[in-house]
Amino acid sequence: MLRLLSFTVFLATWWIAALLAGAERLPPPPAVLTAIITEAHSGALFFNLGVTLARVALAFTLAMTLGASIGYLMGRVRLANRLGDPWLILLLNLPALVVIVLAYIWAGLTEVAAIAAIAINKLPTAVVTVREGTRALDAALDEMATVFAIPRWRALRHVILPQLAPYIAAAARSGLSLVWKIVLVAELLGRSNGVGFEIGVAFQLFDIPLLLAYSLSFVAVVLAIEIVLVQPFEIRLSRWRPRAA
């Protein structure tokens, strides 16, 4: 109910702003809705959203898997941490644009280059978060697992991962928002489809309704994924806590 109210306020503000600024600069909601419907009819909207989503999914999975593994290793093994730390600092502070441009130069304007560039941008934050989580692991529970000779994989699954879950969830949450932001830049610079590409086209044609149509559809998809996938997942992870925050 509160969410609906919040959404209505957003629409009203938009409409009023559009009336004040003029339809040239900020088209009112119906104009954008028309653009969305047109794009949806031609199938372009769903195709481009789908392509972008596939890139996000691939890059996100890649970065999370690699990042969590490297972070765990760096949190556990002192040598790995000392070797990896300079690289981590470099990657953390490297502008996304540099990574994307270099990836396109070295690997060509290919799908692999785009996905790798997005994944590399997201990787260091995942590493840092999971490394902190690994450092915070409870040594008492490790001892328990050792004494009871719980096999390594079972211990990882049932003793270690549940302790890391909040950190992995935090990395996923912040990482997902980072990926949403970067994927469009990567598409704008080097792909010929996807939401980022369409926004680039709309920008060049100065077609503001089209630009907003893609932007808002994209935001809607992001919100839907947050509400349908991410939040229930977080609730499930913390269901053993007497009172989840």
């Binding site: 008492a140 004494v147 009871f148 000779a149 719980i150 049932h158 549940p162 053993w240 806590r241």
Partner: protein
Amino acid sequence: MQLEVDIARKAFTNAAGERLDVLSDFGFALGAGEVGVFVGPSGCGKSTMLKILAGLDHDYQGRVTRPAGARIGMVFQEPRLLPWRSVEANVRLAAPLADEAKLSALFAVLELNAHRSHFPGELSLGLARRVALARAFAVDPDFLILDEPLASLDDALAARLRDQIAILVDSRPVMTLLVTHNVDDAVRLGDRLFLLSPRPARILADLTIRTPRSARGEAEIAAIKADIARRINGDHAERDAS
């Protein structure tokens, strides 16, 4: 099946960089079916010793021979349960081979049947202690290690739990090591009593109680307790004199 311990020295380096001796010239042997009890003042190094015996700490001078392939069941000073698994799932994780009949019997003895599906966060400390005991027994241990399993429980509950431990220990031939600072628990549960000195811990006396646990009368228990008190205080007198 025998445990042989001969630790020449175990030292810690504390945060200030000083080396502290925790154990020195610490040796004993324990056979299958025996319940050995360590009685000593707080902070004398009992938990450190248990960690070495459980194979969790390899940084010491000396030798510990555990029976090859011995299954260890351990109750730590704190319950150390996984908060994200139910009581039953906690026990089953440590003891995947335990069948339903065995678990039921164990939960019945420890009066845990009503709490099987509860999470550890919902349990009192006494209940959590019992779950830790259930977990240690569920693995069918050859070597059972109990680190102050009755500490900080009220007397009535501690007595009940002590009886439950006695029942479980007598129900199978298992080599048991119990650490406590409560002389009463020690005399009621142990076959062999090791009295420890303050840090660095060494064994002051090694007493054997031949009467079976269930047959020990109050008079006998009182006599043994008096003997222990005399030995401990005698040691203090000796130290004061020197």
